[in-house]
Symmetry: C3
Subunit: 266 residues, 3 copies
């Protein structure tokens, strides 16, 4: 099956089944993430209470864990939900926002990697370098490295965790430790909309819920991001309009638009 | 007075008086709820600190309590604010998001119903069934039942609580335990924008603040939602644009638009 | 240098250097603030965990402290970050949302003024009157006073704190205790979009990060708000569209647009 057809087959399954995607995420992107998952066709649920999170995660098609605002309660909720998801065989994707930038974030990322079995990790180059234990430069949550610089670290991390790792950037690098794929597409203005990286992670969650091949699911989710972002940015006046059009485009994204907007290279 | 004229009379009072509507709500919709109340003409205030919430609630025209993300602090704030509102004669509307789905949500909803005297409850069919103690199917926060299925439960709940209950859905059912009204309007795409149910609850709050007939106030708020949603969705490219246009439409909604967009049947 | 040229020189520095602006803010505006700072060209980071906040603040070009939803954890984070910023010579701007309205807010504002050395304060007239210890009328977070009414209080507050104070409103008043400048521009519909006041404070933060003359930096930030708000509101259908266009306009704001949209009077 051609790549765009495989992406669209998963997207059609999401639209058909509306999988429950439970998100324990930062308080910057809760609304944007829920709206993006609804536009995609999934059924999002958000919480930051530990027991509530664990119980919801056990019911989910996938769990999205994002440490962007690492407060006390929401990080406990993230870890509790991760444990419940593991116990129930629910795939977990982790977004290590600004990992390595502060002690708190290093500690939280460390606890997550040690205690939760992950299906996928998605971060920018600085975050993946930091998770892999390498020196990385970040400005807050913004990477100071190109994604390809982090490809070797991503491969090493994927092998040590036994999961798929995605380094997103101008080019996205996706690896399961053996295969390495690059995806191009998207638009530079996407970095001027907060939380589109978090949206990418949530989309990975939705695709994990419908495709048991987590490497393929991650590639497919990133292809939807790239195609929708490129299409939404075309001729747009600025990042305010881009954020709105992104949701509109995702809502009605076609196989032809995926084929035109995302380029994959093995 | 014809229905649309009665709705518009309340809306005009909100625009004239800008009642303070205090919201203890989930962290997904804080921004969207505040923007919707501002577009309507009300003066929103949001908090999640218990003492702050109680003091604000005592000053309010109405209190909106929403348990969508049932964290420790914000639920204590919700209960503290509910008590202060009751003590001060401030009407309270409750949104039991995903009630029945987890133990935490059952516990929170139970505490709310036991300790706070409510003017109105607004939920989807699954949530109202769960509050009424009946078996209900939910997928996270999304109902798996049509609103009419929950009409008998809504009537029973309205009688036992002595308040108005609204079951929202493709058709909204509003009852005070004696009267039962159905409202049609809106648009299916509204379910693809997160938090429009929460917005409906906040609008009920704003109408409670200007109309002491809580059954009428609830019907009027839902009519504004239905009319504005239908108008905003007309010809729209997707849910991103719908959310933006919804605010624009609410801001300038006319009596004629209400008459055209919301249909009521006794 | 003409005023608009000086404003644009700072804006160009923000776009060039993308200073890290750390925000400890309320949970209503996290997303809107991050998007506004990204549209401006800055690099925002948001958190509500005390140790994380302190460590991020020490790395920042400026720190933005906003007490809009004064919860336990985020207020501790605000104070911890303020201390770290002071220790590292990082300028701090404070937004005393609804100061004076509740005991909790009076207590938080008092702790902030006592323990953190501020570069700037931005609030509406009621908030500045309350900080200065004068009687003020608020409806929740909305001022019941015109900004000029609070000008004497702003001058007194600026002198006692040794910082710049901005009273925003239909006309913005900016003072360092000696100089007093008025800025006109903006649009009345801006009050129907939640958090544009918080955005103004965040913009002050971004300008503090690139201009060591904090009085000038504050004037320049408010000029960008006024010019962008006026331009974004021109011909707009309502507050939903205004919020979107505001980001688009900020993203591409030119010196000529600043000159046309913000009027300054000494």
């Amino acid at each position: 099956m051609p790549f765009a057809a495989a992406v669209f087959a998963d997207l059609a399954r999401i639209r058909q089944n509306a999988p429950l995607v439970v998100n324990i995420t930062n308080n910057v992107v809760t609304n944007a993430t829920a709206n993006a998952l609804l536009a995609l066709g999934a059924s999002p649920a958000m919480t930051h209470h530990p027991a509530d999170a664990a119980e919801l995660a056990a019911l989910a098609g996938a769990l999205v864990c994002n440490m962007g605002t690492p407060g006390g309660e929401n990080i406990e909720a993230m870890l509790a939900a991760g444990g419940a998801a593991n116990a129930g065989g629910v795939p977990v994707v982790f977004d290590p926002v600004a990992a390595g930038v502060t002690s708190r974030r290093r500690e939280v990322a460390g606890r997550m990697l040690e205690t939760v079995r992950l299906a996928a990790v998605r971060g920018n180059a600085s975050e993946i370098l930091a998770l892999a234990g390498e020196a990385a430069l970040s400005k807050g949550a913004d990477s100071q490295h190109a994604s390809r610089e982090a490809a070797p670290a991503a491969v090493a991390l994927a092998r040590s965790l036994g999961c798929t790792v995605c380094v997103s950037g101008e080019v996205d690098v996706v690896t399961d430790g053996e295969r390495v794929v690059e995806l191009a597409g998207g638009h530079a203005m996407m970095t001027r909309v907060t939380g589109l990286g978090c949206t990418a992670t949530a989309f990975v969650g939705a695709f994990l819920a419908v495709n048991p091949d987590y490497f393929a699911a991650t590639c497919h989710a990133m292809a939807v991001m790239a195609a929708a972002g490129r299409l939404a940015a075309a001729g747009v006046a600025g990042p305010g309009s881009l954020a709105v059009r992104f949701l509109d485009v995702v809502y009605s994204l076609t196989e032809a638009e995926i084929a035109a907007g995302a380029r994959v290279s093995a």
